[in-house]
């Protein structure tokens, strides 16, 4: 009986909320009235990385900090700031880590060179096949 009660209580138990005491920021889940501004805010939010749910963009994440970052992006876009300036402002704070858009820094060179290398390998493979067939 005690055990059944314990299990019943376990089932009823609620997780301790780790959410804050305030509702989401005004522009966190609300579109800007100007569709062009909203589209450019949206495009930027999809390329910014959530600091909490790392691996998600702030457009996808349900974390509260991501909501506050969406609010920040929409406010600045609505104030006329360019998306590239907002991205640069965030990179200044969190490093290139925060942006999904690859940069030209040395660490990203393999990323840019890999497609070229793969194309060269492909050409070489095709050439060697053609050469094999040639004698027939």
């Amino acid at each position: 009986m005690k055990r059944a009660l314990f299990i019943a209580l376990l089932i009823l138990a609620q997780p301790l909320p780790a959410d804050s005491n305030l509702p989401p920021a005004y522009w966190a889940n609300r579109q800007l009235p100007d569709p062009r501004q909203e589209a450019s805010a949206r495009a930027l939010m999809e390329e910014l990385r959530c600091l909490v749910c790392q691996g998600q963009s702030i457009a996808d994440s349900d974390a509260e900090l991501a909501g506050d970052m969406r609010d920040l992006v929409r406010r600045r876009i609505a104030a006329g700031e360019r998306p590239s300036a907002i991205r640069a402002w965030l990179i200044q704070r969190y490093g290139t880590w925060v942006s999904y858009k690859p940069t030209a820094e040395a660490a990203a060179w393999p990323l840019w060179l890999a497609p070229l290398a793969l194309i060269l390998v492909g050409i070489w493979m095709i050439r060697s096949r053609i050469k094999l067939k040639a004698p027939r």
């Binding site: 780790a18 005491n21 600091l51 506050d68 970052m69 609010d71 704070r93 490093g95 925060v98």
Partner: protein, 175 residues
């Protein structure tokens, strides 16, 4: 195809498996440190989080003596853990200001009544906007600020007893 070429896929496979195994054994550090370290704090001015205590603006953190800036929230469980350590630092004469993230006056005063209040000033950051401008990525975080308002060090996550000597030394060096 020559023998050497045939080995290429196997070598590739092995290196991929080794790469995965290495990252499982040694996972990357998920902490995102602020890039503003050893640079002046950005300008900000936050309203008071409690009626009885002043709010916080960036000029308050450049008063000629080093201070700690604690980013906390009453809804943050590790912050409650850290409160004891901040209280001890306060007892040793360390000046501590705070930014309360997404919080209400009632919840903050209940939190401080329960865990102690080491703060001189508390600014209310309802939309985390100042937190983002500092390059802080969560709660709790603690910054060592020197007398000129330059961010010297950042602690991501709760301070522990073991951090106390280091924090005191960094404050001393920031003088």
């Amino acid at each position: 195809m020559s023998r050497g070429l045939r080995l290429i896929p196997i070598i590739l496979l092995i290196s991929v498996v080794v790469g995965f195994a290495w990252r499982i054994v040694r996972p990357p550090d998920p902490a995102v440190p602020s890039q503003l370290i050893s640079r002046p704090l950005p300008q900000f001015a936050l309203p008071a989080a409690l009626p009885a205590k002043p709010g916080l603006k960036s000029a308050d953190l450049a008063t000629g003596e080093p201070r700690l800036l604690n980013v906390f929230a009453s809804w943050c469980v590790p912050c409650a853990d850290e409160a004891e350590v901040l209280g001890e630092l306060r007892q040793r004469g360390v000046k501590i200001d705070a930014i309360a993230i997404r919080d209400t006056p009632m919840a903050i005063s209940a939190f401080l009544a329960r865990h102690g209040d080491p703060y001189d000033r508390i600014g209310a950051d309802a939309r985390s906007s100042v937190q983002i401008s500092l390059g802080s990525s969560g709660v709790p975080e603690t910054f060592v600020i020197d007398g000129r308002g330059v961010m010297r060090h950042q602690y991501l996550g709760p301070l522990t007893q073991a951090n106390i000597p280091g924090v005191l030394q960094q404050l001393d060096e920031a003088r």
